[in-house]
Amino acid sequence: MTIPFLILAAPTIAGIAAAMYLRNLVHCILALTLGFAGLAALYLQLDAQFVGFTQILVYVGAVAILAVFAIMMTRSAGPMAQPVFSSSWIKGGCVAGAVFAVLAWAIYRSATSLKMLPPQPEVAVRQIGDALMHRFVLPLEIMGLLLTAALIGAVLIAMQEKPEMQ
């Protein structure tokens, strides 16, 4: 636990917490974006440049914008009428606690097993490319196929409007 880590972790946690507790949906998303950015900074601190920048590009640049766009297109952006705590908060808490426990267990286990490894040299982008093209080429292709299918599906959904327009 270094000081830079704390400096970066604090806004990340704060942003994510604010995303849950703020009443205005747009504020929530902006706070969530802060959380994403903090996460990216944490990756950078761990010398994972590629992952860090991809985090910003994908989560800040695309996911947050997509959410914002969805809100802008679909509903009035005023604050919600319901209270922040939903009536079934106990169930939700239980699920969250369970997920946290599993994650913590996994991290703890891997941390103990990885402790022995020497520090990795900085991963170059070229290595990532090599890995994607050789060792992980099948998962990559499957992902590509899945995304193409999703893209075609999205196009089809968008296409249906056309006869109505004319």
Binding site: N24, Q49, L57, G61, V68, A77, E122, V125
Partner: protein
């Protein structure tokens, strides 16, 4: 002083200044010394560009342009600055105060971040990141968020429309922007901007090895510049501002200094994408001919930047604005296929032996489909063509 010393003068100064700093704060001081010039030079360039743009547009339109403040009107930006600083800062009552305040700051901050990876001269880059190009596009996407914040928080319908347009446009054109630069990354085998420039800074005879002098590089450069125009919200893609349609778009409710910040952010974004185009395709700080290498490298970078800015001004002075659907059509039906095709051509180039055959094959591969795509755009659902007219006696 030898040319080498002049070329290195800023680095020498930096080291000289750094030697006075105590050892403990040296990294911090070094970073500061790298960042402050960027914060000083590019806003100054912004000031100069506003005058140049107004004077250039004026001449294009057969006017003088600003010529009242100072010699030939070159102190106009000072007058503009004073004006924007002394103006009342109006915030609409229904606006979301905090977001309304943060939006211009975020925009300018994101625009400045992009300069971190631009090599403005030999060994002159703020941060030589391994994934520099990726960093550039990552911080570029922050601009969209700032634009959304401005448009949404103003609580104005025009600004909301403007923000929707801006985000849709930026997302659509970010894809071809990134894909157009992929060819260079393929050729260079690196995401580091410094490496990319160094690869282009060699010569055959007097001719440089810029990527723009290859078929895929040229097409990539053109596509990159078109996408950059759209990213920078410049005419003919200035729909988010759309003066005549949605008044001023997402910054309609900003006044005074915040408005100036938007203005600054927009121009900084334009310089940054132009700088990236120079880095990727036009050899960065490399001299255009081998016998001109004695001229300091930073001079070449800024000279190229000014040429691209002049191009932006010229285009702005000529073209009318596209419409939203046409803009999208152009992005997805022309730009995207072309960039993908360009990647394919770049791959072909890579695997073919050097010579005129390679040139011919790649040129045909890129030219024929582009004509077809253009025809497809023209002869789409609504045919666009010049018409002849009949006359009644």
């Amino acid at each position: 002083m030898t040319p080498e010393t002049i070329d290195r003068i800023f680095i020498i100064w930096k080291h000289w200044l750094l030697s006075y700093a105590p050892a403990g704060v040296q990294p911090l001081f070094s970073a500061l010394l790298s960042v402050v010039p960027v914060l000083a030079v590019f806003p100054l360039l912004f000031a100069i560009t506003t005058v140049l743009e107004r004077k250039g547009l004026g001449r294009i339109q057969n006017r003088y342009g600003p010529n009242r403040v100072g010699p030939y009107g070159f102190f106009q930006p000072i007058a503009d600055g004073v004006k924007s600083l002394t103006k009342e800062d109006v915030v609409p009552r229904t606006a979301d105060q905090a977001v309304h305040f943060l939006a211009p700051l975020l925009l300018v901050a994101a625009a400045f971040l992009a300069y971190a990876v631009l090599p403005v001269g030999r060994n002159m880059v703020v941060a030589n990141l391994n994934a520099g190009v990726l960093f550039f596009f990552a911080v570029g996407s922050l601009v969209e968020l700032a634009v959304f914040m401005a448009g949404w928080s103003s609580r104005n319908k025009y600004s909301l429309l403007g923000a929707m347009r801006a985000i849709a446009q930026m997302i659509s054109y970010e894809v071809p922007l990134v894909l157009a630069s992929v060819v260079v990354i393929m050729a260079a085998g690196s995401l580091s901007t410094v490496t990319i420039v160094n690869m282009q800074a060699s010569y055959t005879g007097i001719w440089p090895h810029w990527f723009v002098f290859t078929p895929w590089g040229f097409v990539g450069f053109v596509l990159f510049m078109i996408a950059a125009t759209a990213e920078a919200n410049r005419s003919p893609f200035d729909l988010p501002e759309g003066e005549s349609e949605i008044v001023a778009g997402y910054y309609i409710e900003y006044s005074g200094f915040k408005f100036a910040l938007f203005f600054l952010g927009e121009y900084l974004g334009m310089f940054a994408t132009s700088g990236m185009a120079i880095t990727l395709f036009l050899g960065g700080w490399a001299a255009p001919f081998s016998f001109l290498t004695w001229v300091p490298s930073y001079f070449w970078f800024f000279a190229k930047l000014l040429v691209l800015i002049a191009g932006f001004i010229w285009v702005r002075g000529t073209l009318p604005r596209l419409r939203m659907d046409q803009l999208m059509n152009f992005a997805w039906k022309f730009m995207l296929p072309m960039t993908l095709l360009n990647i394919f051509v770049a791959g072909t180039w890579h695997f073919m032996a050097a010579g005129s055959v390679r040139w011919l094959v790649c040129a045909v591969l890129i030219f024929a489909p582009s004509v077809l795509l253009a025809l497809g755009l023209e002869k789409g659902k609504k045919k666009i063509a010049a018409r002849t007219y009949r006359f009644a006696e």
